[in-house]
Structures are given as structure tokens and as C-alpha cells.
């Protein structure tokens, strides 16, 4: 039983180490180092020995010395004996090993004898593995987007794996792609259009949604239940089935290629969710406040502006941010309705850019960075509001 646990523990931790080192090797390869093999067998043997050695030594040496010794041996073999690699790579490996040996520190001979200890170990390492795996899988495309935008087409043709950025060069050369897309491809203009459309959508949506949500939440009228259920059902209908009729109608009314046309469609598509989210919040506001206001002879306009809005700032902000995000990211309608480069939004402009096979990829990626950064920035900054908006409105997407 005990030997089985020890072997299982060593195996699991070794696989975890292999995973860590592999990610580091991939990242190092993408910096232009010529690493042609993961040397999995060697990492495996080392990891296994380190895990066993750690259990064997136990408390006889202070854990910090133990970690340093193990790490140094590994670094010496991997980064010096097998293949000579630069210092920064070895420092990284050292830190990974140090992290790893610290992680396995809490497991001891005695701990391994306990019930379910292998499952506990498996669970612990799966969690760690999961965190790193998902971070890598999610952040890697974003990272590649960013670094590609700083490279040049020729450099990438010479070595498609060298994404190292030369910070020593002139700032104009470094940000060349950004200068080009702003100068030759008019991205400044597209940013303005996108901002106007998104902010406009937010404002109009709120103007329409707040009164409607208040009515649904508070007032009694014929057709109320019908309205609130139809809001949800309408919300489920996708943009793609609206596109052809809207395209024909907008063509005949001359609304294509206009910001007004986009504003109308975006507002209409975000209104149902905005009403749905707001009425839920309005219902939670105590009724007594309004009753007092009615005694003060306040009209519905007064009630909404003086009582409801000040009390529901958090809900309104999360609706606003959510609507902004949808409008900023929207692609289908901007593809259908805009074909004149003068009225493009950012998303449409990038798609247009990619339609030309001659466009260097770093321009495309620079454009992608430009369209992604504001959203990510807003998301990280206002995460609390946006997450509640996402959960409430996330039937859409």
C-alpha cells in the first residue's frame, strides 16, 4: 500500500513537472531558441528521482536548501550538459523547479499513509495542472496577438518561431504596424465610429429600457405577462434570421452604410435583455419609497429620475457595460450593413483588412490588439459590474 502510494505520488508529480517544463520550453522556442526536443525521458527520470529523493530526505535538511539543491542539479543537466542554453532560460527553469519542489514539500511519508491520500494528491495536482493549463490555453492566443503585432513579415518568414521583441530598436520601428494602420488604414476614424455606435447604443438603450422596465416591474396593466415572456422569447431569436429582411428594408430606406441604421438595430437587439435585467433589480427596491413619492405628488417621470435611477446605479452600470460590450464586439450587422469604408466600425474594418490576402499579418494583429484592448481594459477595471451583467444576460452570445 505504502509503496504503491509513493510510486503514484512520484508519477503524478513528475507528470506535473513535465507539463511545467514543456510550457516553458514552448515559450522559449517562441523566443527564437532552437530547442528541438522536449527531452521528456530525461525530465521524467529527474522528476521521479526528485520526488523520491524529497520523500527519502524528509526533514533531515532544511526544505529551502533541499529545493535549491534539486533545482540546481536539474538546471545544470538540462540547460548545460544536454544543450547549452542562455542564462534567462536557465533562470526560468530554476524558478519552475523551485516552485515545484516547494509544492511537493507538504507531502511526507506519514501523509502518504493516510486514507485517500492518492486521491487527495491527484486532486491537488489536477487543480494546479488545470490552473496552469487553462491560463496557458487562454492567454497564449492573446500573447501571440500582441507579439505578432510587433514583428515584421520578413522576420517571421525567416524564422516563424522567433517572436522575440527587440526593445533596443527605435520606437517608430517597434510600433510600426500601429502607425501604419492608423495612417494608411484610417483606424483612428474607425475607433471614433465604433465608440459613437457603442456609446450611442448604451444611451438609447437605457433611455428606452429604464421606463419600460419600471412599468414591467411596478405597474399593473393589461398584457404585462405577455410582454415579459415575449421579451425573453424574442431574445432567443438570433441575428442571422433578421438579417435578410432588415437588409432589404434598410437598402430601400437608404439606412445602409449609416451610423443611424446600426444604432437602431443594436438598440433593438439589446433592449430585451436590458429590460429583463433592469426590471429584476427594480422589483427589489422597496415599494414604500415610491408610495411616499406618490403622496408628494411626484409624476412617474419624477419617480424614475429621483428615486429609481439613483437607487439602481449598480444595475444600470452593469447593463450599460454589458450593452457597450455587445455593441463594440458586434460583427454580423456591421458586415451586412456597412460596405463603404468610410462608415466602417473597428470589427468590420479588420475583417475588410483580412479580405486582402496581401495584408501583412502584423497589421491584422495590430488591428486586433486595438479592438481587443478597450474591451479587456473595461472588463478588468469594472469586473464586478460586468460579471453580474454577464450572468444575468448570458443567455445571449
Amino acid at each position: 500500500m505504502r509503496t504503491k502510494n509513493i510510486i503514484l505520488f512520484s508519477l503524478i508529480s513528475t507528470f506535473f513537472l513535465i507539463f511545467l517544463i514543456s510550457i516553458w520550453k514552448i515559450l522559449a522556442t517562441l523566443q527564437g531558441l532552437s530547442i528541438n526536443s522536449f527531452n521528456i525521458e530525461i525530465i521524467f527520470i529527474f522528476g521521479f528521482l526528485i520526488s523520491l529523493g524529497h520523500l527519502g530526505i524528509g526533514d533531515r535538511i532544511k526544505s529551502i536548501y533541499k529545493s535549491i539543491i534539486f533545482s540546481s542539479i536539474f538546471v545544470f543537466c538540462d540547460g548545460y550538459l544536454i544543450q547549452k542554453l542562455p542564462i534567462w532560460y536557465n533562470v526560468g527553469v530554476f524558478l519552475i523547479l523551485y516552485f515545484f519542489t516547494n509544492k511537493i514539500n507538504k507531502y511526507t511519508f506519514i501523509g502518504l499513509k493516510e486514507e485517500h491520500s492518492t486521491q487527495v494528491i491527484l486532486f491537488d495536482f489536477l487543480t494546479l495542472f488545470g490552473i496552469l493549463f487553462f491560463s496557458f490555453v487562454i492567454l497564449f492566443p492573446f500573447y501571440m496577438m500582441l507579439v505578432t503585432s510587433f514583428k515584421t513579415q520578413i522576420a517571421l518568414l525567416v524564422n516563424p518561431l522567433d517572436f522575440s521583441i527587440n526593445f533596443g530598436q527605435d520606437i517608430r520601428d517597434l510600433f510600426k504596424s500601429y502607425f501604419v494602420i492608423f495612417k494608411s488604414y484610417k483606424f483612428g476614424k474607425y475607433i471614433v465610429t465604433s465608440t459613437i455606435v457603442s456609446v450611442g447604443t448604451v444611451i438609447i438603450t437605457l433611455l428606452f429600457a429604464i421606463p419600460a422596465a419600471y412599468a414591467v416591474a411596478r405597474l399593473n396593466f393589461f398584457g404585462k405577462t405577455f410582454l415579459s415572456t415575449s421579451i425573453l422569447i424574442i431574445y432567443m431569436f438570433p441575428a442571422i434570421v433578421l438579417v435578410i429582411p432588415l437588409y432589404t428594408i434598410f437598402s430601400q430606406l437608404g439606412l445602409r452604410n449609416s451610423i443611424e441604421g446600426l444604432l437602431i438595430v443594436y438598440t433593438a437587439t439589446t433592449l430585451p435583455v436590458a429590460i429583463y435585467m433592469l426590471q429584476g433589480y427594480f422589483k427589489s427596491i422597496p415599494k414604500e419609497l415610491e408610495e411616499a413619492a406618490i403622496l408628494d405628488k411626484l409624476s412617474w417621470f419624477g419617480i424614475i429620475t429621483k428615486i429609481i435611477i439613483p437607487l439602481s446605479i449598480p444595475a444600470i452600470s452593469s447593463v450599460a457595460l454589458y450593452v457597450f460590450m455587445i455593441a463594440w464586439n458586434e460583427f454580423l450587422f456591421s458586415l451586412m450593413f456597412l460596405d463603404n469604408p468610410n462608415s466602417f466600425t473597428l470589427s468590420r474594418a479588420i475583417q475588410y483588412l483580412s479580405g486582402d490576402a496581401e495584408t501583412p499579418r502584423q497589421y491584422l494583429m495590430a488591428g486586433s490588439v486595438v479592438v481587443t484592448l478597450p474591451v479587456l481594459f473595461i472588463f478588468v477595471y469594472f469586473e464586478k459590474y460586468l460579471v453580474s451583467g454577464l450572468t444575468a444576460g448570458s443567455v445571449k452570445g
Binding site: 518561431l161 428606452f208 441575428a239 442571422i240 437587439t269 460583427f331 494583429m365 452570445g397
Partner: protein, 419 residues
């Protein structure tokens, strides 16, 4: 008294909801019904442009006579297929202008040139010319003359409004164009995309529900793919997966894992043999599903995490006392607690993935076996320019969607009854 109050309440409610209701109904509900109308018609993209009478004004000075001027109007019917009836024409001139030759169809009163041109057939063209002279002999400002634009009006049939209907579109949609293949592709895409995103959602939610350093940061990072714009993400993936110089293929070649690059987005099938069985995997479709999972598992994660955090701690403590293992705890406590969320998520995501257009369109454009129903709407309507066909496919989508929703609400109703 109460009646009056209730009445004012009703009135207020209608005033408050009317703008929103009108907008949503005209932009969302009306098009859905308009689809039914269009889908029974033979309409092409070029037919929907309303024919317009147009005139290009050219100002020419006449040599030796500075007080006279010749104005040429190039008149035409903008439509190549439709006639315009009762075309009327109007143009303004400065006060000192007198007309020299008046066309019988026209009249010149109060410095206004008015003409009735009658009916213009399709592709109609005419060069119409008028000569003017100033009555005080002053010099003519050509730029000013050119800046005044003539007004033209005419009546024409709107092809969308006539009552000629046909069943041809539905016949084509249902019996040609490999409809079964289309449905199957859509189903694969929807089903595996949904299941995959929920599985990853459960895994990540379970993970983030543990305590570790940097947990809040991890939670934001996990939501990145969902909040970032599709366009940027799709092109980044395309670059990563590119067969010629994409990062993934370069890496795999570099580590000698593969010998020739794999065209992950451009190859329809790939042959895989497992245990002696040969499988044909739909490669491009699988890649697109991967992207779909990558982009939407954060949503499942968010929902499931919220549910996990609401599970009472006592349940786990009791299980610890009973000596349950971590896996037993997961399968016997956690999983039953989140089944409700998972079933709702499954339905919602299923409906939304079924309708997904942008992701597939940006990655493959519907090529190499990734043509789903929404992509087909676009291809029929805009690539082949057959609006009627596109609408018919939209109707198919709407009908299937209504069926899903029917099941969904039935299921939801059942669940409410149970509680």
C-alpha cells in the same frame, strides 16, 4: 376613485413601454414575419434596389457667346430590370436666366424648368439638352449652376410587394443542396460545442472554487475569450493554425511531432486509426468546434461557479466526517447540486450555438465541411445573391428554434412543478 387610479396606472404603463415595444417589434418581430413573405418569392439581391430616375448635369459654355450656356442632362433609369412610370423632372435657375429652346415635354415658369418624361423602360438612357441666355448679358457662374441639383421623381413597382408567390425556394432548400448534410453539420457543431463548453466549465469552476493564490485574477482571465471581440480572436486563431507559417504547425514541425503541416482549418477529413479501426474525422469542423468551446466555456464556468459557491459548506464537512474521498465528494455532493444549472445551460447554449454565425464565418467561411445552417443563410442570400433562398433557410432555422424552445419551456415547467 380606484378605477381612475388604475386607469392612469395603465396609461402610464403604456406610455412607458410603448417606445421600447415599438422598436423591438419593428426590428425583431417584423423581420421574422417578413422572412415568411420573402421566402415564398423569387427575389434576388439586385431586385431589391428601388429603381430611381437619375440625371447627371453637365454645364457647357458656348464659344463666342458668353451670355449663353448649354446644359446637358444625362438621364437614365438606374434599374436594369424594372420600368419607372411618370417620371417628373425639376431644376432651378438664377433669376436672370431665360430659356432658348423649350422641349415640348417641358415648361419654364418662375425660373423653374419642369418636365414630364412619361415612362422609362429598364436601362433607359437619354441625353436631354437645354440652352439658356441671361437677359441682362452678365457673366455666367458655371460652378453655381452645377451646384444646383435637379430633382427627379417616378413611380415603380416594388418587387417585394407584389403578390406572386412560389414554393421553389423551399423545394430547393429541403431537397437539393445536401440538406441532410447541412443539418448534420449544424447538429455536430451545436452538440459537441455545447457539451465541450459545459465539461470545461465544470472543470474550471471546480478548480477556481478551491482556494489558491491569484484566484480572482484567474477568474478574470478565464472570462477573456468570452468578452474579447470575435473578429480579433478568430484571426488570431487563424494565424496560429495556418498551415504554411502558423505557429502551431511550426512548433510541431520543430519538435518533430509531425512531418508535414496539417491544414487544420482547410482540410475536410483526416484519417485516424485507433486500435486498427480507421476513422474519418471531420478535421475543419473539429477545429471550429474547438474554437467554439474555447470561446464559450467561460460562460458555463461563470454559471457553475456561482452555483458551487452557493452549496452549503456543511455538506462537505459531513462528508469529511464520514471519510469520503475527494472524488466521492465530487460525484455525490457537487454534481447533484449543479445538475439543474447544467441542464439550463445546456438548453441555452444549444440554442445559441445552433444560431452561431460569426465564429464559423470568420474561421472558415463555411468551407471544408463547416457549412452550418446560419452560414447557409449568408451564402444563399449574399454570396449567391438569392434573397428568397436565404429567407427560406432562415425560416427553417426559426422552425427548428421554436421546436427547441417548446421542449425547453416544457422541461422548465416540469422542473418548476417538481420544486
Amino acid at each position: 376613485m380606484n378605477d381612475i387610479l388604475a386607469n392612469t396606472e395603465k396609461k402610464t404603463a403604456y406610455i412607458l413601454t410603448l417606445p421600447a415595444v415599438l422598436l423591438v417589434f419593428s426590428i425583431i418581430l417584423f423581420p421574422i414575419f417578413a422572412n415568411i413573405w420573402i421566402s415564398f418569392k423569387e427575389v434576388e439581391l439586385k431586385d431589391i434596389r428601388i429603381p430611381e430616375p437619375r440625371a447627371k448635369k453637365i454645364v457647357k459654355s458656348i464659344s463666342d457667346e458668353p451670355s449663353k450656356i448649354k446644359i446637358l442632362y444625362k438621364l437614365r433609369n438606374s434599374s436594369l430590370i424594372q420600368e419607372i412610370r411618370d417620371v417628373s423632372f425639376q431644376d432651378k435657375f438664377p433669376k436672370n436666366f431665360e430659356i432658348e429652346n423649350l422641349d415640348p415635354r417641358c415648361s419654364y415658369k418662375k425660373h423653374n424648368l419642369k418636365c414630364e418624361f412619361g415612362n422609362w423602360p429598364a436601362k433607359y438612357k437619354e441625353n436631354f439638352q437645354a440652352i439658356f441666355a441671361t437677359n441682362d448679358g452678365s457673366k455666367i457662374d458655371k460652378k453655381n449652376l452645377k451646384s444646383i441639383k435637379p430633382k427627379l421623381e417616378g413611380k415603380s413597382d416594388n418587387i417585394l410587394l407584389n403578390t406572386r408567390f412560389t414554393l421553389k425556394n423551399f423545394k430547393k432548400v429541403l431537397f437539393e443542396n445536401e440538406f441532410v448534410d447541412l443539418l448534420l453539420t449544424t447538429f455536430y457543431y451545436t452538440f459537441f460545442g455545447t457539451v465541450g463548453s459545459i465539461v470545461f466549465g465544470i472543470l474550471t469552476a471546480q478548480m477556481v472554487n478551491q482556494k489558491f493564490y491569484g484566484r480572482t485574477f484567474m477568474r478574470s482571465v478565464l472570462l477573456f475569450p468570452y468578452v474579447a471581440p470575435v473578429v480579433a480572436l478568430a484571426y488570431t486563431w487563424e494565424l496560429l493554425l495556418d498551415p504554411n507559417s502558423g505557429t502551431l504547425n511550426s512548433l510541431l514541425l520543430n519538435y518533430q511531432i509531425i512531418e508535414t503541416p496539417i491544414n487544420l482549418l482547410g482540410q475536410k477529413y483526416i484519417e485516424i486509426s485507433i486500435l486498427g479501426f480507421d476513422f474519418k474525422l471531420r478535421l475543419a469542423l473539429t477545429t471550429v468546434i474547438m474554437f467554439e468551446i474555447w470561446r464559450y466555456f467561460p460562460l458555463a464556468f461563470l454559471f457553475i461557479l456561482a452555483r458551487l459557491q452557493a452549496i452549503p459548506k456543511e455538506l462537505y464537512e459531513a462528508a469529511d466526517v464520514d471519510g469520503a474521498s475527494p472524488f466521492q465528494k465530487f460525484f455525490n455532493i457537487t454534481l447533484p447540486q449543479i445538475t439543474a444549472v447544467i441542464s439550463i445551460l445546456f438548453m441555452i447554449r444549444f440554442i445559441w450555438n445552433f444560431n452561431k454565425f460569426e465564429d464559423v464565418f470568420l474561421l472558415t467561411g463555411g468551407a471544408s465541411g463547416t457549412r452550418t445552417l446560419p452560414i447557409n443563410v449568408y451564402q444563399q442570400g449574399f454570396a449567391i445573391s438569392d434573397i428568397g433562398m436565404g429567407s427560406a433557410v432562415s425560416i427553417v432555422i426559426v422552425v427548428l428554434l421554436l421546436m427547441f424552445m417548446f421542449f425547453y419551456f416544457k422541461l422548465l415547467g416540469k422542473r418548476v412543478d417538481e420544486n
